[in-house]
Subunit: 149 residues, 2 copies
């Protein structure tokens, strides 16, 4: 597999991931381990609760979006090393049966002043459901290698 380097990226470059099917069993399994609240793990309690049914943990949605990023990686062998995330917003509850699509767009590309082999890429990720509604958005800061000399 080939690789993309910092030098290959330009603000405005964008990619769309594959459909992400949100399955009830996965929603419950993730939340039992990491976010065991009734709205995420207990269909009966969730049905009479505020959301009228199970909703996915926001951290599960973020993890599913990361999985799609790896599976449909536009950068080839380049390691995807996250420095951080800004402006992460969970905008609409994600429910079992939903199908999500992530779109990623390069916002900024910066070379490191001190380390010529590295730079920083700022990427905006937006995630929509099958109705076209945005369910999550975030700004990802990633460390990225420059092309080897």
């Amino acid at each position: 597999m080939s690789a993309l380097y910092l030098d290959d990226l330009t603000p405005g470059d964008a990619w769309t991931g594959a459909p992400i099917a949100v399955e009830e069993a996965d929603v419950v399994r993730f939340a039992r381990e990491f976010d065991a609240q009734p709205m995420h793990i207990d269909p009966q309690a969730a049905a009479i609760g505020r959301f009228g049914g199970l909703i996915a943990s926001g951290w599960h949605v973020a993890a599913l979006v990361m999985r799609d990023f790896i599976a449909n990686n536009p950068f080839g062998d380049t390691p995807l090393l996250g420095i951080g995330v800004d402006e992460l917003r969970w905008l609409k509850p994600v429910r079992p049966g939903d199908t999500l699509i992530a779109r990623r767009e390069i916002v900024a590309v910066r070379r490191s002043a001190s380390k010529p082999q590295l730079g920083t890429v700022t990427m905006r990720t937006t995630v929509t459901d099958q109705q076209g509604d945005m369910v999550m958005s975030m700004i990802n800061l990633m460390q990225f290698p420059t092309r080897p000399m």
Copy 2:
């Protein structure tokens, strides 16, 4: 179990979670599902890579911190509903064998102007390892109910 409401929270209120043991099997299992890169899932490849060994997916660290928040929930029955996260930073690689501690501090408490039964809490979460080094920090925005009349 009792519950805390927006009315009960004051900026400066802080809680420390329980020790979070980072286990290699969990690091690999999470990453195989959500972040299947060699640095997270392949001990041999990771050993000769940049970090000299396996490191946890940043999303796994965030999920472990959420699990601790639920397990050591200072808010009782109040649902912990995330609106978003700002300034999430992965500051130091987390490795199998590390033991993490999360500290949470209320930064701001705001009543909703339009919905008297709801408000927003801003919480700063910092996560340190057994050496006292900060490995992750973030600002959490949460929706919080006010005390029922």
